[in-house]
Structure formats: structure tokens, C-alpha cells
Amino acid sequence: MKEKIRIGCGAGFSGDRIEPALVLTEKGKLGYLVLECLAERTIALAQKRKQQDPRLGYDPLLERRMEELLPLLVKNNTRLITNMGAANPMAAAQKIMDMAKKKNIHIKVAVVLGDDVFDQLNGDEISLEGGKPIKSYGNLISANAYLGIDALLPALQSDAQVIITGRVADPSLFLAPMIFELGWDPHNFDLLGKGTVIGHLLECAGQITGGYFADPVTKPVEGMEKLGHPYVDVFQDGSGIISKVEGTGGQVTIRTAKEQLLYEVIDPFNYFTPDVIADFSTVILEQLEADKIRVDGGNGKVRPDKLKVSVGYQAGYIGEGEISYAGAHAKERAIMAGEIIEKRIKHFFDEFRIDYIGLSALHGHELSASCNPYEIRLRVVGRTADKEKALWVGEEVEALYTNGPAGGGGARKNVQEIVGVISILMDREKLNPEIEILG
């Protein structure tokens, strides 16, 4: 049993920067590196890729992230825990084994399986969002349950250096190594609550080191171009010290920590994970020195009987077109252009929207009422089940060049296939997580 454990977080979403994880592994003296790369929608999109090619469906950046990371993990004796397996953790593990073989690196990879529960659904399950049967939303394409520490612990008990998962609750990726290395009782819910607080603070990587925080006027942060990602020392009593590698950019302060602590938290007194219902309201933060904060407090009470399952469904296509106007009467010309398109095609779409970027696209008309910007970008967007129809939006906007108001420039168009995500709850007993070891 260890006195403390050091865990770094080198990625906070699928598209995150590559190099902070390398810096952390090279210089952070980590026991564990976590790469959190899976959002609600990411896994449904990954399921679609797997349907098209059974060898795919894992994180599209997996190879690029592992290329330089793999030798560093071995050299520094750091274990990796990542949900980059997405919809296909087994294929991801095999890919990592192939890469290791080519590099003459001998490692074992543990694969955590069992989050994919698509075959267990019949479509009559009721969605938490709309209170309707999930089959009424459209063609279902995926269902992944949020696994927790009980799925991860057997993988940690193996001698695998890389642990790859599909859908696991983000804080559990951090809590599992705390329990394993510090010898915590997995039913000591106060400790699980404290560990979950720490996991939540780290899971978005750069969001606690100054990313998604910086404001050059009120919250200046230095070195954003080389933003360091965080690591934490977690102690036996569930307290932790969060910091970042010296020489990297960004800052770790009580302010950055408070913003992250409350990020995406629906109820700070009852934060649900598969492991515990944690209370964030009792957390105490203390600045020890520059870029070093102490986290203590937080509690937990029981673990939920039911687990959340994200269900993906086909939601049609979104067609989009944009064009810009500037100078005298830019606003009036953009509005005229929007009205022209609305009259011509709005009635063909299930949902239709017009935005004036630079004026009211983000915060609506009221807050921007007194504002008259020099340039405005018209954005038109429509949703439909028909891909061909979705193309019309961009085409109609482009046609404004010669048929619309004066001085329209810089037209762009695109069409996206949309995967909607809804949630259901599933009894814990229905899940059978298991691990497999490669190597």
C-alpha cells in the first residue's frame, strides 16, 4: 500500500492537444497517466465507424497519441488508463500491441469490456430526457453504459501497463488507481467522494490549468500556447495536491479550480457516478504556492443502483450555409439575405434557423440590441431526414452571390450527418464487465 499516488491527465477530450501528455509523462514523475477522450456523442459516432469497418470504432487520434507516448510510458514506468477504446476497445488494444511490436516494446494491454449494451435493449425503454420510448426517436445505433471502478479494478490488478476502455465514467478513470494503490475500501463512500472530487477536477485536463478560463482583461493567463496539463498527488486520507510540470504555460489557482469543480455539475450536493453519489459542497481549496493547490473535503453517500446508458440514434442531416456583409447597412443587408432564404426554403425543413454571426448568433437579440457591428456573417441552417435536401441550404446561400443583396462575400457550405444522444437508466446487475489481457 502506498502513502501517495501521482496521476496526470494528458487529454480532456477526443480532439485535445497531443504534446501535453508527452510533457507530463517525460517530466511529471507520474505513476498513472489518464487520457479522457470520450464525450456522449463521441461514442455514438465511433459506433458508426465500427459498423462501416469492424477494425475501427476506437479514437481517431489513438495512433497519433500513442506513437510517441508508448516509449515514454515504458521508459518512465507509467501506466496509462484511457477510454480511447470508444466503441471498439478490443481493436484499439490490438492496434496498440501492433505499434509496440513494431517499436520492439514489450507491454501488456488490458481491455475493459462490457459497456456496450445495445443487444440488451428492445426499444421500449423510456428516455430520461423526453419520457418517451427510445425507439420513437429514430433508428437506434448504439447504447453504452457508464462503467465504474468495479470494471477497472481487475485490469489494475493485472500487470498490464496500458488499460484501455470504452464508456467509463470520467472520474472513475482516476478513482480506480487511487483505490488500487492506496488500498482504499471500495465501500468507504466518503473516500470515494473525495477521490471523485479530485477525478472531476482533473478530467478536463487543461480546464484546471487556465484553459477555458483565460480572459486577457479580467483573468490573464501566461503561456497559453504551451499550456501544461495537470497532475495530482493523492494521499491516504483522500486529500490531494494539484499542480503542473514546471516551465509549462497556464496556472493552477483556486479560481481555476473553482470553475472546474462546478463544471457540468447539475447538483453539487449530489454528483452521480457509477461509484458514489458525491457531495462537492464541502470541498476546501487552498493555494500552497504558485501553481500548486491543496484539495480537501468533499463527501460521498452510497452508490446508485442504476447506471446511466447513452443511446445514440440517427437524427438526420444538418445543412449549413454562411455569407458575410460589411460596411454601410451590413446589418440590413444580412437580414434581407436571411429573409430571402427563409421565404424560399424554410418550409421544406423539420427545423430551420437563421443567425447573424457578430451580432446575435450566440446571445440572442436582446443583449445585442444596441450593437451595430461593422461586419456580419449570415448563417442559415436546416435539419431534415433527407441528405439531398440538406445540401440545398448551402446552395441557396451561395446563390445569394448573384441573386441576393449587394456585397455578399465569403460564402461557405457544409452538410453533417447528425447522431442524437438520449439516456436511459439500467440496473447494475444487468451489466457484466470483464477484462481481457493482450501480450
Binding site: 473553482k258 462546478l262 455539475v265 453539487p268 459542497s281 470541498v283 443567425d355 446571445h363 436582446e366
Partner: protein, 101 residues
């Protein structure tokens, strides 16, 4: 009158069709000001262009922060919304536009 942005910072987060806004005073002594001025009702009115459901205010006296959970606030939720900012990430700065005493 001054804008909230003068005395507080905020971060926006999303879960499905729910928008979550923290509100944190730069100086802890301003927490009671936020408590008095920034009620759930005022937030609901201020963000009416975006928030169609209930706004719940959570008070966190130990952390000296407020948290607003805004229901039916992201048109249909990030995965299917037609909004430019489907996550509502920019809405922290909409909250900070609020005028207070």
C-alpha cells in the same frame, strides 16, 4: 449599476438539454452581493432568449460560489441543436452581462 463581469467570473457546462452556469466572485467578500442580486428568477429573465425551463440556484457558502442549473436551455441539446454554439459554452458571458446594484 454595474455589470456582473466586474465582480465575478463564470463557466458554462452542459448535460443534455441542461445548461449549468457557475458564478464565482473575484473577492470572497462579494459573495453576499451575488446572493442578494443574482436570484434564480433574475437569471431566468436575463437568459429568457435561451432558457425555456426552470432555473435552480444552488448556494455554496463554503466555496463562496453560486451554481445555476437551467433546464430546457440548449434548444434540444448539444447533439441535435441547430445553434452555432450548441453546447452553450459562450453563455457564461451572457450571465456576466447582467446589471446589478
Amino acid at each position: 449599476m454595474k455589470k456582473l463581469a466586474k465582480i465575478a467570473h463564470s463557466r458554462a457546462g452542459d448535460k443534455g438539454n441542461t445548461l449549468i452556469l457557475s458564478l464565482i466572485p473575484y473577492e470572497e467578500k462579494d459573495y453576499p452581493v451575488l446572493l442578494r442580486e443574482v436570484t434564480a428568477e433574475r437569471v431566468k429573465k436575463h437568459l429568457a432568449f435561451q432558457v425555456k425551463g426552470e432555473v435552480v440556484r444552488h448556494e455554496l457558502p463554503l466555496l463562496k460560489a453560486l451554481l445555476f442549473t437551467c433546464h430546457e436551455a440548449l434548444t434540444s441539446g448539444v447533439t441535435t441543436s441547430l445553434a452555432l454554439d450548441a453546447h452553450g459554452k459562450s453563455l457564461s458571458y451572457a450571465l456576466l452581462e447582467m446589471e446589478i446594484e
